[in-house]
Amino acid sequence: MADITLNDIIKPENLVYEKTRLMTDKELSYCPGCGHGTAHRITMEVIEELGMEEITIGVAPVGCSVLAYEFMNIDMTQAAHGRAPAVATGIKRVWPEKIVFTYQGDGDLAAIGTAETIHACNRGEKIVIIFINNGIYGMTGGQMAPTTLPGMKSSTSPFGRDVETMGNPLKITELVAQLPGTYFVTRQAVHTPAAVRKAKKAIRKAFENQRDKKPGVSFVEIVSNCNSGWKMTPNDSNTWMVENMFPYYPMGDIKVDGVMVK
């Protein structure tokens, strides 16, 4: 056995996992420990596994994932801040046979883009929306987001979010689930292998819904960490997320096949 070298092991028949070809080789711009990379990967894996790469057009937001098009190896459009659902609507309406999705953060989707989010969902656009909720503005350096928890510190709520003056965190996923135009609404996470598997299954369902021309938006929220914005180690941020974010943003399906499940 001592004669076996690394080159003996690196053989196609021994391969148990490989990076999807729908992720480019470009180094991710995300902080080590951030959930964005995993969310990108499973989204691209789903598109590859469903054989949709040639017909899929993605829409990148403004925020940490503004450069998503650098990493996602498919046709992509970069939208103005918050406008991704309108941009996706434009694409889907003129190319109804294509698969169109947006990938947006909480500031993009639930603050500046609230109108575009609500109305694309209400019109029942046949698109997928992937919503990364980490309760903070990461790209601009840790400011308060619409989803920042009460009491949570950020650079624009340095003494903690005071709901009296700064308002309450917005549960936009529960809100869009109430609209007749949403077909599938779920909340997931990517902090453990089990969570990643469940999240990927949800994303797969969302894309299958669009492929199968199901009526309405498939909306997948992923509650994620922002270890640098929260000023924690990656492990601590995941623990904090489970203890603080999950009670406010409970995991699981909210609406399946157009029917509310909880």
């Binding site: 790469e53 040639e54 017909i55 899929t56 057009i57 829409v59 990148a60 503004v66 450069l67 098009y69 190896n73 498919i74 046709d75 992509m76 459009t77 970069q78 939208a79 103005a80 406008r83 309108a86 941009v87 996706a88 609507t89 434009g90 694409i91 309406r93 003129v94 190319w95 294509k98 109108a115 575009e116 609500i118 109305h119």
Partner: protein, 361 residues
């Protein structure tokens, strides 16, 4: 001869969108241009040509729908009026940065703010000087008749795709609302999906295996690359300035004075040319059709010809007059006349201004 109809300017523009083979119109109602989307909705272009018509939740959403669909290679259009066009400026800046082709119309009303629903030409600066953030231009065509409301949609799409640029049809409440005879051009077929993929390889239509992905973006964090991109945009605007100037001259051969005007003001000025000529005043009219590019060279030709003065006639406090001054560059007198805030000047007022401000002043 094409089909003759009596139509409102806004309706003619809507009909022209269908006939030009547009793939989609995204809009939001606002006076005085709501007839555009009303006409399209009642005309059911999705049955005639397969064209999509969608009422968006806002002007912001509408221009971003245009951005998405134009980036995917389709022929798309929107329209609005002044306050709504202000809302579209963010999207238009992105369209300029990402170099997307589209046509949009501004049926201008008096401002600032909510202003009035009456006609105005006070959005000239916004239209030709940028409007949104960043160094960019758009082609601006100014119709002076219902006929041109229709024709400029067709020409607009041709220019938009030739240069990958937004083309603005800068109309006003007079041209949008009035009814005139219009000869409609014949239906141009919409491009097929295969034709779009063939003609517009930059468009996001889905990445075929083994090909490079297409990215529609206005962003580059590398400043050197961004400077290069800006130089590319400026070179394109220069090419447009050299090749796409459009104007008309009336009675300029022997003119000592020239009205410079566009849109409804040009029609009024043309009438006042007749009034002044009856009094023996040698005045002509330079009607601007393209506002960007601006007919700088033609104004210099008129200076060479010995024109003593240019009166910029516009329904604003004086915006286009600045470009006339730049073109004249001190070689002749330049003045401005116009009623504004929703008031339309009469031919008599314009002729009177010529005598008082230009000749007597």
């Amino acid at each position: 001869m094409g089909e003759l109809k009596l139509m409102k300017g806004n309706e003619a523009m809507a009909e022209a969108a269908i006939r030009a083979g547009a793939d989609a119109y995204f809009g939001y109602p606002i006076t005085p241009q709501s007839e555009v989307i009303e006409y399209l909705m009642s005309e059911k272009p999705y049955e005639r040509t397969g064209m999509v018509v969608l009422q968006a939740e806002s002007e912001v959403a509408a221009i971003n729908m245009v951005y998405g669909a134009a980036g995917a290679g389709k022929k798309v259009m929107t329209s609005s009026s002044s306050p709504g066009v202000s809302l579209k400026q963010e999207g238009l800046s992105y369209i300029a940065g990402a170099e997307l082709p589209c046509v949009y119309a501004n049926v201008v009303r008096g401002g600032p703010g909510l202003g009035t629903i009456q006609p105005s030409q006070a959005d000239y600066f916004q239209s030709v000087k940028g409007g949104g953030h960043g160094d960019y231009k758009q082609i601006v065509l100014a119709p002076a008749s219902v006929q041109e409301m229709a024709d400029f949609v067709k020409i607009g799409f041709e220019l938009a795709f030739k240069y990958r640029i937004a083309v603005l049809i800068l109309s006003d409440g007079v041209i949008g609302q009035m009814m005139e005879k219009v000869e409609l051009f014949d239906q141009i077929p919409r491009l097929t999906d295969a034709e779009i993929k063939e003609k517009y390889p930059w468009a996001t239509t889905g990445k075929a295996k083994g090909t490079e992905r297409r990215i529609i973006t206005s962003l580059d964090l590398d400043s050197l690359k961004m400077e290069k991109h800006n130089h590319h945009l400026q070179a394109k605007y220069k090419t447009i300035s050299e090749n796409e100037v459009r104007f008309e001259l009336f009675d300029c051969e022997d003119a000592e004075y020239v009205y410079v005007a566009y849109g409804s003001s040009a029609r009024i000025a043309q009438k006042s040319v007749q009034l002044a000529r009856k009094k023996g005043i040698k005045v002509g009219l330079l009607r601007l059709i393209s506002l960007f590019p601006f007919p700088t060279k033609q104004i210099q030709v008129l200076c060479d010809q010995g024109v003593k003065g240019f009166l910029a006639v516009e329904m604003s406090a004086g915006q286009m007059v600045e470009d006339v001054q730049l073109a004249v560059n001190g070689r002749a007198k330049v003045a401005h006349y116009g009623r504004f805030g929703g008031i339309v000047h009469s031919p008599e007022e314009v002729e009177n201004a010529l005598e008082k401000i230009m000749i007597g002043g």
